[in-house]
Each structure stands twice: as structure tokens, then as C-alpha cells.
């Protein structure tokens, strides 16, 4: 057994350098991180899911941007081809392995959570922190507010 936490930042830096990029990527970094304790019991809370996968639709495949898609029926496939997951080792054919709608639906039936929003949200991964901070994140916040979300779970691939 050879277990260790994969040093993703170092590996990614070296991978880009090997492709001839001279400027290293600057990851987002915050000294102060916001935090709120849960304001109501989970069994009464409305949960939203945010994924970095895009809808498997013509617009979703053509343009990576913020989308809101129905949580029911649960999509049987999502568009993940443009994301940097570990393609030689696994696959994304089981949507529940990265988009936890099915299991949250079960949690609703078990009364562990209040309910799941009727839409889930897609947010594009970005090299540009400015795009994320100034454009995409405010759109996601507006969707959460429209849907009266209590808890947002971000599940990046």
C-alpha cells in the first residue's frame, strides 16, 4: 500500500510547465473564511447542490456557464468531458458518483433533511478568478436566494 495525499498543486504546476506554460496558475487563497452555524435543524432545511459538471444539452456542451436544471427527473448523464477528472482511472457514467441528487432524495425520505431544491446549479471551473467572483458566484447566490436555500453543497469534480 502506498497511501499519501496526492499533491495536486505541485502536480498541476509541473504538468502545465511540461506543456510550455511559463506562468504558474494562482489558486484562490483566503485568510478569512466565512462560516455560519446551521440556523435550523437539517430536518427542516432546504438543500441545494452546486456541481462543476454542465448539463448534457446543446448549450451545456457548447458554453460553460451557470445553469439551473431540474432536480427531478434526475439527469441520467452530465457533460463532464472538459473537466480535469482522472480519466485513465475512473468514469462519470454514474451521475450519483458526483452529483448527489439521488442520495439526497433518499435523505428527504428518511427525514434527515427538509427538502431538496427543485433545481440544481452548474458552475463552470475557471482559470479566471475574476469570472468566478464577479460573474458566476453572484448568479449562483441569486439562484439560492430565489429558491430559498438554507444549505448549499458544492461538489466539484
Amino acid at each position: 500500500m502506498d497511501q499519501y495525499d496526492v499533491p495536486y498543486m505541485e502536480r498541476t504546476r509541473n504538468f502545465y510547465r511540461a506543456q510550455g506554460y511559463s506562468k504558474d496558475y494562482q489558486w484562490a487563497h483566503y485568510d478569512d473564511v466565512p462560516f455560519t452555524v446551521l440556523q435550523k435543524p437539517l430536518s427542516k432545511a432546504r438543500i441545494a447542490v452546486i456541481t462543476t459538471a454542465m448539463p448534457d444539452t446543446e448549450p451545456g456542451r457548447a458554453q460553460r456557464q451557470v445553469y439551473a436544471s431540474p432536480s427531478d427527473p434526475i439527469p441520467s448523464v452530465m457533460y463532464t468531458d472538459e473537466l480535469s477528472w482522472h480519466k485513465t482511472m475512473t468514469h462519470t457514467e454514474d451521475v450519483a458518483s458526483f452529483l448527489p441528487l439521488q442520495q439526497l432524495r433518499q435523505c428527504t425520505q428518511l427525514n434527515l433533511i427538509g427538502d431538496l431544491t427543485q433545481r440544481f446549479y452548474s458552475i463552470p471551473t475557471e482559470y479566471s478568478q475574476r469570472n468566478t467572483i464577479e460573474k458566476d458566484a453572484p448568479e449562483i447566490l441569486a439562484l439560492c436566494q430565489q429558491d430559498e436555500v438554507d444549505v448549499a453543497i458544492l461538489v466539484p469534480l
Binding site: A18, F35, V37, E82, P100, Q103, S128
Partner: protein, 107 residues
Amino acid sequence: MDIVEYCGVPRYLHSDFPLGNPCGKPYDSDMQLQIIQQGLGLIEHAQQARSTERTPFTWKDDNWRADYARIDDSNREELRLRGERRRQQQANDKAAGKSRAAMISEI
């Protein structure tokens, strides 16, 4: 894990799996339910920012750890050429008015 903790988030549940299946192994619905339940527990009980937990699950073997973004003599030249093609593609996209760069996805 290093990237999320460097960024800093309120709560983080880490699945020590190859990137792509953070909610559990494909088609293992029992594991997927246990992982979301652990995540919900973290949401409920965490008392401060940067609260991190790990799931108790492991992948079937550990080969993936060394494989991620591997660079050696077998692919060094291919990576260099790939970078050249990608920069050309980026220039074409920019000329075509695309505002967002596609990610490098061929790890």
C-alpha cells in the same frame, strides 16, 4: 485536498478517490448514501470554518496516486506538443470571440 484547504472553505468532506467520483464509487449506492450522510453531519456539527473530515473509504488500489498528471520520458514530448496545439487553439478561440478558455482536461 491541498487545493481546497489552500483556498479555505467553511466545511470540507474529502473523498480520497481519483478525481471524478467525490460522492462515492460509481454504482455503489450504499457508499454514496453514507458519504452524503457524513457530509450532512459535518454541516450540522461543524463549529468553525475550515472544518475538514475524510470519508472512511478507499479506492480499490493506490495506482491512481502516482498516475495523476504523470510526467516521464514516455510522454514528455507529447505534452510539449499538446501545449503548442492548445495555445494555438486558445488563440483561435480568442479570435473567434470566445471569452472563456476551455480547461486542460487531458490529465
